[in-house]
């Protein structure tokens, strides 16, 4: 499905995150190593409290590790000051949430172009990028609709377009199918998969194995530790040939 993998876009090296000290210390993540390459979608699964959200927040530079390194698009986050980190985050990372998180008073195109305007590009250029991003997720015809005039699946497509508008290449998706029925959820996964295959990278937190299966590999967290990974995606149709 995905073409040859590109360079590493996100690298976590020995990342640990501890809240509190001493006896009451909570180890949200322990010594996590993870590479996400361009063209690659990685799913993260695990029970509540296993560290999935912490992992996503650290990957996006919203939280900082207690130890270990996070390298995003070639820059190590800890080497940057607050402003540099914010700039890198804005340029490189987009988020997709369960509840879409679109601004209700803005149209689809405005929702997508707003973060780019905040990046400082002109509104006309931002609009052009937004329309391209909406076309990439198959809903450029809905550009001037407001969120409440769109279905959940359409809103989530807008959110994916927003996450990957302009130069952004890494999409961090937190239960993006959580509010959708299973057929619509699958459509959204198809879109996410296609965007990643077209040159983005993605980290997908989900508790549904069916959606994790759209990723190239799945890692399991338990108590902040990666306990398992499915490894690289194998060649398909092996199973069917062996007779299921």
């Amino acid at each position: 499905m995905s073409a040859a993998r590109g360079p590493v876009l996100l690298r976590l090296g020995g990342v640990s995150r501890t809240h509190g000290h001493g006896d009451i210390a909570v180890h949200a993540l322990r010594d996590v190593d993870l590479d996400v390459r361009v063209g690659e979608l990685v799913a993260v699964m695990g029970p509540s409290g296993s560290g999935k959200s912490t992992l996503l927040n650290i990957a996006g530079g919203l939280d900082t590790p207690t130890s270990g390194t996070v390298t995003l698009a070639g820059s190590e986050l800890s080497a940057l000051d607050l402003r540099g980190r914010a700039r890198l985050r804005r340029r490189s990372v987009g988020y997709v949430f369960q509840d879409f998180n679109l601004i209700p008073a803005l149209t689809a195109a405005e929702n997508v172009s707003l973060p780019r305007e905040l990046d400082g590009i002109g509104s006309r250029a931002a609009r052009r990028e937004a329309l391209e991003a909406l076309a990439d997720v198959g809903i450029d015809d809905l550009a001037d609709r407001f969120p409440d005039e769109m279905s959940g699946g359409q809103q989530q497509r807008v959110a994916i377009a927003r996450a990957l508008a302009g130069p952004r290449r890494l999409v961090l998706a937190d239960e993006p199918t959580g509010a959708l029925d299973s057929v619509t959820g699958e459509d959204v996964m198809r879109v996410l998969r296609a965007r990643v295959d077209a040159g983005a990278a993605g980290l997908l937190v989900t508790h549904e194995a069916r959606f994790a299966a759209w990723a190239d590999r799945t890692i399991f967290l338990r108590d902040g530790v990666v306990v398992d990974t499915t490894g690289e995606r194998p060649e398909a149709d092996v199973l069917l040939r062996e007779g299921v």
Binding site: P47, R210, A213, W214, D228, P234, A236, V238, L239, G243
Partner: protein, 204 residues
């Protein structure tokens, strides 16, 4: 079982000979359950014996079609109608190696149950990835029958993963509250056997 009913359903559409039936069955189910031709003819002969199908009388010489074709009798047509109308009854759960393995593992003294569960989950997820990849290669509306068969495999694999998550959590909880005692083992064994029939259903 499903081969018999599957062939009846296909014959209800039009008379066919054995090779045609096999081809059609595999095409319509995405070659997921390949049939061998011997199986097809054995089944056909049973259908004839039971009065559900009959050979189509030869059309006379010169047609070049000397392979025997079969069609449904009225009784066969009624059987197909009844099959569509009735839900599939799973009956007694098939013996499921995984459920048996886990039930035995939780009560065995030296087995790392969590390791067994994790290895299985990795494997099941790998199949799930495979099915999903195949789905991606089927343009959605082009081959609906095949993509529905894939969906059935996808949901069955997902159910198995959820079951594995569930018993892993139960075993962890039991071990936590009672120490690593027989209670944990019993909880795990109960979870494994309880789920055995659901799982058998899922794996058809």
């Amino acid at each position: 079982m499903s081969v018999r009913n599957g062939l009846l359903a296909l014959l209800a559409e039009q008379p066919m000979h054995g090779y045609q039936l096999r081809q059609e069955f595999e095409r319509r189910t995405g070659s997921t359950w390949p049939l061998n031709i011997g199986q097809v003819y054995t089944t056909l002969h049973r259908l004839v014996r039971d009065g559900l199908a009959e050979p189509v009388p030869a059309q006379g010489a010169g047609t070049g079609d000397d392979v025997e074709r079969f069609r449904l009798t009225d009784a066969g047509a009624a059987e197909v109608t009844a099959w569509w109308a009735q839900p599939v009854r799973r009956g007694v759960p098939a013996r499921d190696e995984l459920a048996i393995k886990i039930a035995l593992a939780v009560t065995a003294p030296v087995v790392d149950v969590t390791g067994v569960i994790r290895a299985q989950r990795t494997e099941t997820l790998r199949s799930l990835h495979d099915y999903t990849r195949l789905k991606l290669e089927v343009p959605t509306h082009e081959d609906l029958a095949w993509s529905l068969v894939l969906d059935s495999l996808v949901f069955a694999a997902e159910a198995e993963v959820r079951w594995l998550d569930h018993i892993e959590a139960r075993i962890a909880r039991a071990a936590h509250s009672h120490g690593a005692s027989a209670a944990g083992a019993a909880a795990g064994a109960a979870a494994a056997t309880q789920q055995a029939d659901k799982n058998a259903e899922a794996s058809r």
